[in-house]
Amino acid sequence: MTCDRVQAELPLYAEGDLDDTATHAIDAHLAQCGDCQRALEGISESQRALKALRSVYVDADAMQAMRARVLERLASVQVEAARRARLFRRVAAGALAAAALVVTSSVTTLWITTPRNSAPLVNETRNDGTPPAATVDPGPILIKWVTNNPKVEVYLISKAQVGETRIG
């Protein structure tokens, strides 16, 4: 390995972050290269100074005050969340009522029109044995749905179904 290559890997080598093959190769180079040994010492010294920062002085009173501020903020967060939940419920209820009002007001009139001469819905066998009168087709049922928009009229046309029941 060249010195440039070794020195590029030294930051990882110094902390054991290389695999065995790379580590052995650098070991072998360092055994016979003073420049790279000095470079390694520099990195090791820098790393020791860096790791010394693990010991941090903390003001216990400042930490306690920090925790108190967090709890205050959390209380206000919870109050705000509850307020939003109430507001949401009110808005949802209002929206529901408004929707119901719109539906109610939009259906201003509903007519169900059926033919006047519709036949009885039940065919009966007469007691004298005469056949029942011919069933008259009642015709379609027409439903006119008038909305609050005068240009919109909805018609529903349905074919009436006549049930047939025999008695006796």
Binding site: G42, S46, V77
Partner: protein
């Protein structure tokens, strides 16, 4: 002042039972959340101060990180360790704070000492000042990777997982960061201890 000498968590074991304080905090218990804060404040403060570089910003970061933790605690699995999640939150909070305050773009805390003045042996406090200043010369990604790996003592794999990066990317960032730090330190001391 209390000295935070406890070594950082090197590996997180999944607890066999769910953390009762996490369960209570999920239900909105402020006392339980207070205990969680007390248990993890060192981790959050230590990470924040090395990412942001000063005590006041680190305290603000602690506050924001714990508020953010509480807001999203319903997503936390009480049966899993809280530390990785808290590291991720802390890093994100520090990034946000730094963007707001342009802390990452700030000049180094301490200019390098000219070589001829660095011949006397520097004691530990001076070394720490130099290293802290050196941290400020790194890019944001390099600094975060280095702080988590070498100061917090996490593995490269853990750092990659916290940052949502590939391990090879984190290794490269750490390698560059260590080399830059060593160079900065050499320039500050004239290469003489």
């Amino acid at each position: 002042m209390e000295l935070q000498n406890a070594l950082p968590c090197m590996a997180w074991n999944t607890p066999e039972v769910a953390d009762p304080d996490v369960l209570k905090a999920k239900a909105g218990d402020p006392e339980a959340f207070g205990r969680i804060m007390k248990a993890h404040q060192r981790q959050v403060y230590r990470t924040s101060i090395h990412l942001l570089g000063n005590h006041d910003d680190a305290l603000d970061a602690c506050q924001d990180a714990f508020v953010r933790l509480f807001r999203h605690i319903d997503r936390l699995d009480a049966g899993r360790p809280i530390e990785p999640w808290l590291y991720r939150i802390t890093v994100n909070v520090c990034r946000d704070l730094a963007k707001r305050r342009r802390a990452y773009a700030a000049p180094p805390i301490m200019p390098p000492v000219p070589a001829e003045d660095g011949r006397a042996r520097l004691h530990a406090r001076e070394q720490a000042r130099i290293v802290k200043a050196g941290l400020r010369t790194l890019t944001e990604h390099e600094r975060v990777a280095l702080v988590l790996r070498d100061i917090e003592g996490l593995s490269t794999q853990e750092v990659a997982k916290i940052l949502g990066s590939k391990q090879v990317t984190v290794r490269t960032q750490i390698c560059k960061a260590r080399a830059k730090l060593r160079k900065y330190r050499d320039e500050s001391t004239g290469g003489i201890e």
